[in-house]
Subunit: 192 residues, 2 copies
DNA sequence: TACATCTTGGAGTGTCCGCTCCAGTTCTGC
DNA sequence: GCAGAACTGGAGCGGACACTCCAAGATGTA
């Protein structure tokens, strides 16, 4: 929509403001008024550059998720431990995008449009983890690797949630417990 | 606040309507208007019986969480597998409270009042899982048991989230992977 | 029965929201 | 340096929201 230089600059200013606000007040607190005030821009300018408020929010989240990728080139050099550590850093680090991401996921539970976007991102991440699993243990089948990835990633998400709600929770410690655990589990087993 | 019989009945009708609406439209879609219309009650009656809309929502969630407890008496007879299965059923079963619970947790990420309620419930559940871990392996220390419980529960929460967003996801299968996995992990270990 | 207290409905209040509209301005290609 | 398209701010719209107010009626108590 933006073609002139000034328009593109305004667009960036709006995205910055949105990013800042998401970090400060979470996804529920971000209003159009706050965004435009923060970006020093009129509502008309905003709608000249974005189709809706959510459009800007999604754009910010998308960019932020891309930014934390430890191997954006897809060289396939990251170990499972690297990925887990990166995820922990992502959840507990200074970037607030993890909180936003989980809030979006929560919304996705009743909003199909959001759900599809969240799922797409989740599946990409599962693939990445599965690849690392197979690199670590080449005898693994593809399905097994995906299962392990799903479990580790699910666990990390849940632990991240706990960490975000409970500041005293040591996510790194608990996440590390997953590494040997996941390596030992290949098939669903009855224990009782 | 309610003392007469009619007031108590109205209160129940309001809670029923809230419960029904939470199930149908999720936590974001529940409005006061919808609740009062559904309960066939005026706004004034609502506020005669509840302090706020959230009050009614929390009450419903609280009751629902109590209802799914497989061992409400606290007899200590539930195995880890029982608890995991119960959690899976809770997440994938017909009751919509799991979805609401996760949505509340998401809100808790930026709303401290909600966060404290969510955390309280989470800690109770962790304790229950930890007790089951120690029953399964009495040599376990208290801290170790809590760690295992935290990991299993975190994983279940994350897997539950995936299951709710992705209807094709087999949560039961993946949750079972956690059982032998958790049993083998006691201390954080470096693997790389 | 007498009467204090509780319950009721729903019109109304204040607030906030996302978004539209548009007249005026700035930008860029030619 | 002109034409036309892109950009701008901000008043204002329509509607949703949680919540208040209160007169009238129902209920429980002595």
């Amino acid at each position: 929509m933006a073609r002139y230089r000034v328009g593109l600059e305004t667009r960036e200013r709006i995205l910055s403001a949105t990013r800042r606000l998401l970090a400060e007040v979470g996804i529920e607190g971000v209003t159009l008024k706050a965004i435009t005030a923060n970006a020093r821009v009129g509502a008309g300018s905003f709608y000249n550059l974005f189709d809706s408020k959510d459009d800007a929010v999604f754009e910010v989240v998308r960019e932020a998720i891309e930014a934390v990728d430890p191997d954006p080139a897809g060289a396939g050099t990251d170990s499972l431990e690297d990925l887990v550590d990166a995820f922990v850093a992502f959840m507990t680090g200074s970037s607030p995008i993890a909180r936003i991401y989980l809030q979006l996921a929560g919304r996705g539970l009743t909003d199909p449009a959001i759900a599809s976007r969240v799922l797409r991102s989740h599946r990409r991440r599962v693939e990445r983890f599965a690849d690392a699993c197979r690199r670590e243990d080449p005898s693994l089948g593809e399905g097994e690797a995906i299962s392990r990835a799903e479990v580790i990633l699910g666990a990390l998400t849940g632990l991240g949630m706990t960490a975000l709600v409970d500041p005293g929770f040591d996510m790194r410690y608990h996440a590390r417990l997953l590494l040997p655990a996941a390596a030992g589990a290949g098939h669903p087993t009855r224990t009782g």
